[in-house]
């Protein structure tokens, strides 16, 4: 194991300017911030496309049944401007995803945070950033 200095930029509360960070549709119209989900599984597909990058995670339950979840990210344009690349997430990656469940109850969620098996957090940018944090536990 190596020890490395890892620095994360944290945005301060006051800024030179702010902009509403919204996607081509509103977060609240599709996802419920009060229904947080945590999914652990293997990435089976990555779609680096507009209007939303998307990845699919195969989640195995304790009976061994696999359910494939469809996770929505911000557009690749937004992700790139926030340090993501096409290879930030890859098929086969073991991930833990924190996000908000789709309002219609389907196996879809808006990804807020993606954690890789080695502990690295890959920030998701959600639907352009307007996803509020989940309710306190």
């Amino acid at each position: 194991m190596r020890i490395r200095l890892v620095c994360v930029l944290v945005a301060m509360a006051a800024a030179a300017w702010t902009t509403p960070a919204l996607a081509h549709h509103s977060f609240a119209a599709e996802y419920d911030a009060n229904k947080p989900v945590t999914l652990k599984g293997t990435v089976s597909k990555v779609e680096w496309t507009n209007p939303h990058a998307r990845f699919y995670v195969d989640v195995k339950d304790d009976k061994g049944t696999v359910t494939t979840w469809n996770l929505e990210l911000a557009s690749p344009n937004v992700l790139r401007r926030n340090g993501w690349t096409r290879t930030s997430l890859n098929v086969g990656d073991e991930v833990t995803v924190e996000g908000s469940w789709a309002k219609d109850g389907s196996k879809m969620a808006n990804a807020r945070v993606v954690k890789l098996a080695d502990g690295r957090r890959v920030f998701a940018g959600s639907s352009g950033g307007d996803a509020p944090p989940p309710p306190p536990q």
Binding site: M1, H25, N82
Partner: protein
């Protein structure tokens, strides 16, 4: 749900920690905190005076962000002003469903709605163009050669725009709109009677104030004014954005537009 503002990077604070990582080489982790998936990279907008073109007019060119309604056009009204919408059109608006927002279905935002993606102004002697990265990745064309609106216009998403200068303000007069786009996420409506008058004033190098008079006696009882401000994104370039390439999930959008 009120729109959430996202802060810009200029006042970012680096939080460093010593972390044990595996010996395997890994690409650097993205640096935006979770939930702050904004487009705010790069330096702060400059504040010096705007430059001039060789013809003496203000140079409005550059890559901008913002400058129009996104979630709610009422955010652009002056303090204390209300939207003078006709009661029957308020009912139409209240019945609109989010999944039917043309913007969510990769159709144009029209005028004056914006999306949060960067856009560029390009000026020539005879035209001004606004190139939009987001939405349908298209452009608005403004005729700056003194022509008038044609008599028989087919209704279109962006209308027919003619522009001129009043001092240091570029004025854009647009008619010939269709009634198919929405003014914002919550579904604020309009009719084909819509006539917009936009005033673009670059108050300093980094700031473009856009005041729009919305004149539509079909859906409103009188014209009303909205003001939004665009910020310059120095060093930014437009990226391709093809909304239709993978937009198959609109069916998952539920609920009324007004609940945004």
């Amino acid at each position: 749900m009120k729109p959430v503002s996202v802060v810009g990077l200029p006042l970012a604070l680096a939080v460093c920690a010593l972390v044990a990582v595996s010996a395997q080489q890994t690409p650097p982790a993205p640096t935006s905190p979770a939930g702050a998936g904004s487009q705010n990279r790069g330096p702060a907008a400059p504040t010096g005076p705007a430059k001039r073109l060789p013809n003496g007019k203000v140079d409005l060119s550059g890559v901008w962000q913002g400058g129009g309604p996104v979630g709610d056009i009422k955010l652009g009204l002056a303090k204390g002003e209300t939207l003078p919408i006709r009661p029957e059109w308020q009912k139409i608006m209240d019945a609109r469903q989010s999944k039917d927002d043309p913007e969510a279905n990769c159709l144009p935002t029209g005028v004056p709605r914006r999306d949060p993606y960067p856009w560029r102004i390009l000026q020539t002697d005879t035209h001004a163009f606004m190139l939009f990265e987001g939405n349908i990745h298209s452009y608005r064309q403004i005729f700056m050669d003194g022509r008038k609106h044609p008599a028989d216009l087919d209704p279109t998403w962006y209308g027919h725009s003619i522009g001129w200068w009043e001092g240091d303000t570029m004025v854009v007069d647009t008619v010939g709109f269709n009634d198919l786009f929405w003014f914002d996420f919550i579904g604020t409506p309009h009719t084909e009677k819509l006539h917009t008058l936009e005033r673009y004033t670059r108050t300093n190098l980094g700031t473009l104030v856009i005041e729009t008079t919305v004149d539509d006696l079909g859906a409103y009882t009188r014209p009303f004014k909205i003001t939004f401000t665009a910020r310059l994104r120095p060093g930014e370039e437009l990226m391709e954005y093809i909304c239709n390439e993978n937009n198959g999930y609109v069916k998952h959008i539920t609920g009324p537009a007004k609940d945004f």
